[in-house]
Amino acid sequence: MTEFDLIVPSTPDEAVAVLHAHPPEEVAVLAGGTDLLFDLDGGRLRARHVVSLRRLPWRTLDWNGATLTIGSTLPLRAIENDPDVRARLPGLYTAVRAVGSVALRHRATLGGNLGRASPASDLVPMLLALDAEVELVGPSGERTVPVDRFVEASRKTALRPSELIRAVRIPEARPSAYLWQRVRPFHDISHMAVAVAFSPAGARWRVAVAGFPPRPILVPAAEAALGPAHPSDPDLERAAESIVREAPIVADRRASEEYRRRLVRPLLTRAVRACGEELR
């Protein structure tokens, strides 16, 4: 690890100003640090200034009717401990619990997970299926970007220079499920994952697949194949086929392409059936 200054701003305005005052390549933003510190320690990231968000008032979780807004620096553990999240967004609850260990989730944050944009994120696919939006603050004010446009590629986001993630907004409670496959069930990275959610307002399914580079993606063809709330077995079969056909699944050191494609059908089937139990 190379040496750096740790800067701890007290307000969002101050944080944005600090970022604005340094060249972007010299600054790293620290939320929980569970991913960032590996890169700093391993020398893959050479930040001269690390800006900690720990004093900002963003460790929040607010339900407004069916809409949930989660502050970007809230530890993941607080999300899984919220009884309403577990009851109304079961897929998010499962996805959060898929991240690392309990100890790690006491530090890791939703904002950090989005900002770091790991292709192996367990949270991004679920946020995609929930049509979540990212609230950003920056030198030129605030804006809101859908997660699908926010996460652009592996380790690449739509964040502009000096912009910060303030919160993530999930528009409605949805029957939802997250299914993953790993070599080791605990403390491992998912090498294939399927997130599904049923939107009562839109009366439609959302399906995201993940676990391979460059990033988790929505598969509209699968959503269309699932049709109305209770898909038949042939509907499920068509949906799985469309993912196998359309998703840009590739091999890496964690799994072969063939194995990943093979996992689509069982993971999708189980995920949709898990939602089906809630739809009843």
Binding site: V183, R184, P185, F186, R254, Y259, R262
Partner: protein, 741 residues
């Protein structure tokens, strides 16, 4: 059992125990290594000037050795730094030391290494696609060739009712001790001193002397607390570089590997390919043929022990009247092969157990009955012609078989029950000495080893002394000293600590008790006890204070002292059966039978171990708590070898997964409750008939889990580890035609 469970517990739980990585002495510099950028290449230059230009940095390479070691010549086959050829990626080519760790790493990065890359040999199968022929034995890339044979192999295969031929492949596994290799070296005049985290202080002394060309008498090695060894700390590693840096700097130097370096440079059990052929007639094995290609990385020719030792394990502890075995240790551009708890034996057990189960099924026989019919018992002869000594494996196996039948009755669909065996012989042949001193306060045992975490030194040696003397455990202290002061011992490896060093302790104590018995003219056994806070000597129903029996000379010398030595025993094999290379006889015959229940997800290939039981032939249990802990730890480690652990090498010789993120050891989430049962009465070579228990617990685990997976879903997996992808591939092959019960 009278003392605390572990005398080191309080210190370790409080974080007060000083491990090798915790060493921090005044004025010391921090060391770092410069690593080669290719797996194979001609080294044309190492430019240390940019490192030396940094403030406070000392940098050394091969060209500095004559200056640092005037008139000395180290082992040419394993120089501290290479002079002309790089043989594995990340081979250390230079070392630096600096006032801070950050500066040391910066200095290491600043060094330029000039290499002309050469083609690398990485995969043994692509090196020998048609298997090495007889002419290969003399080639430089063959580090060892072994061949043995007995009986008319061709006739047995010709006349067989069933012949089964299979190929197995196993992966590279790493010891993954929590603490990396770490030491602090200091050189004053001719005294080369190193404090290090090691399984063998005397082994480090011998290695350092050989590598640097120094006499052993000028080297002093002192062990620190060891944060896990698992075989990886059995020989020297970072110590020669740290000593050279300390010599160059004139100050103490700390050198510790990073965790990434542990993987990149670490000595590991490397991949292997095995061809197995078995002939069966009328329900009996009539002949077996086994051929092994073992990747030994850059191990030195003539120094590979594993091939000759493990090939016996590939025949298994089964009656085999006629056989032919041949093994090649193939050199590749990887780090040297290194031990990993029972080096390569868990892989051998996986292959032989899976194969014989397959053979039985192909021959229409019940696999467990088939194995039981062939298991060695005392009085049998091994394939290499060695008589089998007392051996409780058959007893352990029948107990495991009974439990498996019980578990099978309650197993839900998708679950499977497996039984596997493993056998082992402990390294009691490696020598050990200890000095025992008896005073009115109690017993002190002086010896060279630090406990590596298993308790075999601190608990095991004290338990031996307690059992012999009857003195309560809290009156027995196990002390250690550096190699300048302690009696010689080979090291804490090979399941030998209690067996060999414990035997030395016992012999010393027997001598002391014998002396006391003579003074009392005792007719029966002499034991010790405590009365009124003082050690007393008991014999023939009476007791006398020790104080009253000690001579003035003994009192001046600090107590009654005796030294014990144990240089082991070894069996004899029939050399007529050996055609080439070195095979080894067994000292003890020890083994275990395990039972696993697994749940297998047919769609994803995921395997979960639901419950586990282990039956171990240990001769005699010396300390029940420590013995049980060894089995639990070994099974947990074996679950990693079975299901998740695999070091992956790219075709260019680059380790793809040098870290705990993608090299997956089991967590507590993957280790189920483990029932442990000891089979006693089949006496071994250790004190009170004890057999070693460091390595045996890991040996049957991959075999047992593979058997359970096959039972659950019919997947016959012939490669380790049985990760989800391999299980689904095996399921596709069998196409669901084989069903569990």
């Amino acid at each position: 059992m009278t003392g605390p469970l572990r005398p080191d517990l309080a210190e370790k739980l409080a974080g007060a125990a000083g491990y090798g990585v915790d060493l921090d002495v005044p004025g010391m510099l921090w060391g770092a290594l410069v690593l080669a950028p290719v797996a194979h290449g001609r080294l044309t230059g190492v430019d240390l000037a940019p490192a030396r230009a940094l403030p406070g940095v000392v940098a050394i390479g091969a060209e500095d050795l004559p200056r640092l070691l005037p008139g000395r010549e180290g082992d040419r086959e394993r120089p501290a730094f290479p002079t002309d050829t790089i043989v594995y990626r990340n081979q250390p080519v230079a070392a630096v030391a600096a006032p801070t760790l950050a500066r040391a790493r910066e200095a290491a990065r600043a060094v330029t290494v000039h290499v002309e890359p050469l083609p690398a040999v990485v995969d043994v199968e692509s090196r020998f696609p048609d298997w090495p022929g007889p002419e290969a034995a003399g080639r430089p890339e063959i580090a060892a060739h072994v061949r043995a044979r007995h009986g008319d192999v061709e006739a047995a295969f010709r006349d067989a009712g069933t012949v089964v031929r299979e190929i197995y492949r196993t992966a590279s596994v790493h010891p993954v001790a929590l603490e990396p290799h770490a030491c602090v070296a200091d050189v004053e005049g001719d005294r080369w001193h190193v404090r290090t985290s090691t399984q063998s202080p005397f082994g480090v002394r011998e290695d350092v002397a050989s590598i640097l060309g120094l006499p052993e008498s000028s080297i002093v090695v002192e062990g620190t607390w060891v944060g896990g060894g698992f075989g990886g700390k059995g020989a020297s590693f970072v110590e020669p570089w740290a000593l050279l840096l300390a010599k160059a700097a004139g100050r103490p130097v700390r050198l510790a590997l990073t965790y990434r370096e542990e993987f990149l440079l670490g000595r590991t059990t490397l991949p292997a390919v095995v061809r197995m052929e078995t002939a069966v007639r009328d329900g009996r094995i009539t002949a077996r043929r086994v051929r092994l290609l073992l990747d030994v990385g850059t191990s030195l020719p003539g120094r590979d022990f594993t091939t000759g030792y493990s090939i016996g394990f590939l025949l298994g502890p089964y009656r085999t009247p006629v056989f032919e075995v041949e093994g090649y240790a193939v050199r590749t551009n990887k780090p040297p092969f290194g031990p990993h708890r029972a080096p390569f034996a868990p892989q051998c057990a996986f292959m032989v157990e899976s194969h014989l189960e397959h053979v039985a099924r192909e021959a229409g026989l019940d696999p467990l009955a088939f194995k039981a019919d062939h298991l060695w018992q005392e009085g049998d002869t091994t394939p290499l012609g060695q008589p089998v000594l007392p051996f409780g494996l058959r007893t352990a196996f029948e107990a495991a078989r009974g439990l498996a039948a019980e578990w099978r009755r309650s197993a839900p669909p998708g679950h499977g029950i497996g039984v596997g065996v493993g056998f082992w012989s402990t390294s009691t042949g490696a020598g050990g000495e200890a000095r025992v001193t008896l005073t009115p306060e109690g017993i002190r045992i002086d010896q060279a080893e630090r406990d590596i975490g298993s308790g075999s030194v601190l608990v095991g040696l004290a338990a031996v002394a307690e059992r012999r003397s009857h003195l309560p455990r809290e009156r027995i202290r196990v002390a250690y000293a550096d190699t300048a002061h302690a009696p010689y011992d080979a090291g804490v490896f090979g399941s030998r600590t209690v067996g060999a060093l414990g035997r030395a302790v016992d012999e010393a104590l027997v001598e002391i008790l014998g002396r006391l018995g003579a003074r009392l003219a005792a007719r029966g056994p002499v034991t010790l006890g405590v009365e009124d806070g003082e050690v007393v000597v008991r014999a023939d129903g009476g007791s006398r204070p020790l104080r009253a029996l000690v001579t003035p000379e003994e009192e001046r010398a600090g107590g009654l002292t005796a030294s014990g030595k144990h240089y082991g025993r070894s069996g004899v094999i029939d050399e007529h059966r050996v055609l080439d290379g070195t095979f080894y006889a067994y000292t003890d015959f020890t083994g275990a039978a395990h039972v696993a229940e697994v749940a297998v997800d047919r769609d994803t290939g995921s395997v979960r171990v639901v419950r586990y039981a282990a039956f171990h032939d240990v001769g005699t249990v010396i300390d029940p708590f420590t013995a049980r802990a060894q089995v639990e730890g070994g099974v947990g480690m074996g679950i990693g070898t079975a299901l998740t652990e695999e070091a992956i090498w790219s075709p260019e010789g680059r380790l793809v997964n040098p870290g705990l993120l993608d090299y997956r050891i089991p967590t507590l989430g993957e280790v189920p409750p483990i029932d442990v049962t000891f089979v006693e009465g089949f006496r071994g070579a250790g004190p009170f008939g004890a057999k070693g228990l460091g390595e045996p617990p890991i040996i049957p685990v991959p075999a047992t889990i593979a058997s359970a997976v096959r039972d659950a879903v019919g997947a016959h997996v012939t490669e380790l580890p049985l990760n989800p992808e391999r299980v689904t591939r095996a399921l596709s092959r069998t196409n669901g035609t084989e069903q569990g019960p």
